[in-house]
Every structure is written in C-alpha cells, then in structure tokens.
Symmetry: C2
Amino acid sequence: MSSNPLAAYDRPSVAVDLVLMTAVDGALKVLVQRHPQMAWVLPGGLVHIDETLEDTVARMLAQKARMPGAFVEQLYTFGALDRDPRGRVISVAYYALVPAERIERALAAGDDLRLATVSNGACDTPLGYDHDQIVRVAAERLAAKLDYTAIALELLPAEFTLRALQDVYETILSVRLAKPAFRRKMLDRGFLTSTGRFETGGAHRPAELYARA
Amino acid sequence: MSSNPLAAYDRPSVAVDLVLMTAVDGALKVLVQRHPQMAWVLPGGLVHIDETLEDTVARMLAQKARMPGAFVEQLYTFGALDRDPRGRVISVAYYALVPAERIERALAAGDDLRLATVSNGACDTPLGYDHDQIVRVAAERLAAKLDYTAIALELLPAEFTLRALQDVYETILSVRLAKPAFRRKMLDRGFLTSTGRFETGGAHRPAELYARA
DNA sequence: CCAAAAGTGTTACAAGTACACCCATGA
DNA sequence: TCATGGGTGTACTTGTAACACTTTTGG
C-alpha cells in the first residue's frame, strides 16, 4: 500500500438512478426517459467527484426529471458487475414521489420523458440496464411504507379529499378498502387536519378537504 | 462526451462498511476494529473493480470480521464529501447479525477486534469517519425490523428458549415486555417450531427449546 | 324527487394487555 | 418444601371489519 491507499485500486463509476412515481387514475406510474440505444431507462447520471449523493439526486430531479424539490428517499444500491455494458457502474437508487397534477403539467412540455405504468411491481415498458429490477424494489418499498408512514400524502396536492387518499392506497396496494374503516384509521393516526373547505362540483354531497397535520 | 462517457469523470472510491451486531447480557454490541490513526472503526474496505457489493461484504465478513456466512443485509449508502480524510469515498453500509456465542468464540483469539456497546443508538466507544452515524442507522433499522420480521432469530443459536428470544427483543428495543403476551405473539406468528427438547440446569422448570420454522 | 357519493353510528370479532395462577425443577 | 423462573387461563381493552344508515349535492 502506498501513502494513499485509495490510489492503488481501479475505481467503479458511481451513478444515481431515480424512480419518480405518481398515482394517476388507479395506476402507479414511473417516469422514464428515452435512451439512444435502449428504448427507455430511468433518469439518472454519474455522481460527480465534488457532489454528495443528495446533490446528484437534486440535479437529476431538476435537470433530467424537471421536478425540482420533489420528495425523495434513498432506495437501495445496486452493484452487479454487468449492470452497465459500458463498464463497472454502481448505482445508488432513490425514489421520488410527486402529485399527479404536477407531473402532468411538466410532461405537457414533454419530449423524451413519459410515464410508464407499473402493476404488481412490473413495468409495462421494458427498461434498459437493471432498471426493471430497480422499479420493482421501489414499488415494493412504497407499498410497505404506506402502512406505517404518511408517505401517501406526497402523492397528493396540498389539499385533498379522503376519497382521493383512499384511491392512492388502493392503487398502490392493489386492493379495495372499506370506506368507513379507512376514514377512521387515517383520522385517528393524526397525520391529517381538516381545512373546513369542501370540494364541490360532483352530483353529490361535497367532500371535505384535508391537509397534512 | 467521448465514446465512453464513463471515462470523462473523476471517480469516487467505493467502500463497504460492516455493522456486525450481536446481543449479549442485555446489551447490543457492535464489532469494531482498531485503526492506526483513529482509535476504532467499523470493519470495511474498498470494493474491487471485479467484485459485486455482496462479494465485498463476504470478503469483509471473512477476513476482517472473521465471521464468514453471517446473516447480512444492505443498510444505507453514505456519500458525504468529507467522510474520509483520504479522499472521496462513498460507503455502502451493510449490517450483519451473529449469535453471541459465535462471536465470543471468535474474539477469544482476538487482537485488534472488540465489541463496543450501543445504547439508544449511540456507541460507547467513539468511532472514526462517520461510523457513529452508521451505527445509529443500523441500530434503528434493527429495532424497526423486529416488529415485522423474524430477524431476531439471527441473534440466537439454532435452538433457543422463548426467554432468550424475549431478552433479544428487550435488549434491542430497550423496553420490558410482558411474558405471556410475548410468548403468544411469537408462537402465533409461525416463525417458530417447538423441538420437544428442553433446556435444563436452572433451579426451576425446564424451558422448552424452539427452532426456526 | 332521484341518483350518487360523502359521511356516521352500531355491532361483532380479533388482537393485544394485565394479572392471577399453576408447573417442574434444584437445593 | 421453598424459591425460582417456565408456562397457561381468563377477563378486559383496544383496534379493525361489516353493514346499515343519514346527509348533501346536481340534474
């Protein structure tokens, strides 16, 4: 070993890949990006030498996904030898959650970005590299976190009805939930506050709007 | 960008750090290693260019921790710029669980390895780099996983009493649990099978030995 | 007034807690 | 036979599920 032992080894490249998800019309969606060779891939890029992982994620969110400031959490790190044909790349995957309205506005200006549909952890559009596997892990993590966190609120606008929240749960878990039980469980948890405002417009009683506590 | 875009950037080093934990006498312990400069650090090392992350973990477990084949899971990836004074090192942390007897046997031959005590996520021995933070995250993850997995069994020998299992839970969660409730919950979960054998020797009724289902 | 979806009350069941008690052993 | 910890039964409380019901709107 030399005076700096770090110099003695070949280094892998380190990338960040982003699984940006949203729930629209009963379907879980993932943002994917057109790729020159492989058809579609997750937005991602190399971690620069003077960037933290979070810096890279913020850069990917802003530049590649055009969703700066979205909720994001680290997912898992993938290190198989052959995951990138160009060379050894270790990828630190993050997942991001965005309300459907916001992503649909950004995609209106869209070109090389689109939303792929995920069902049972599988993506309807086949993705390059090991990105199908990354999406699967992200979908599983999201479903697991619904039970014990308020993470679903990241998929809704600032004010939302309990029915909209239930739709998010039913979409991600692929189950039908009972309305009264769902209402009470959510309200008892203390994650929500009622705004006193109502969503009008339907041919039925207006639904109260709630916000995060 | 050149023909191989990976070549265009300086690359960070990638390391694996290992949080090998066990539960002994009501205390959660972490294996730490003497370091030339900093007093104590987690066992760890660089990921070689032709090694998967899991390969590196297996190598660390065998060579550095002398605990080959232990249960291991990925914990989190740490990427702060200044976490290693020698240069930019991104560390993929893993946690490992080993029954107390096994680790105590291996440490009998001990030299530069010892068990530090963790309480409330904090390590009694101050560690170098950001390893105190890594230990904290590992302790939190372990406590969270007790609730919904059979992970505690990794900290016990192949056959064990329900009292021993309860001790593991109480140690990691830092709470006292009610014996009847604990027994029934564990048996109802289906993770355990009774062996029909008993642990004798105490001045009291022998305790039945259980094994993983 | 009717259809539709929001929202509530009532009962039943299941999971979890508290506590009292019995059991088998070594000394 | 006593102390000790293993192991069980029973009542109580809490959380969840099922179902029927009322409320408020648009057409």
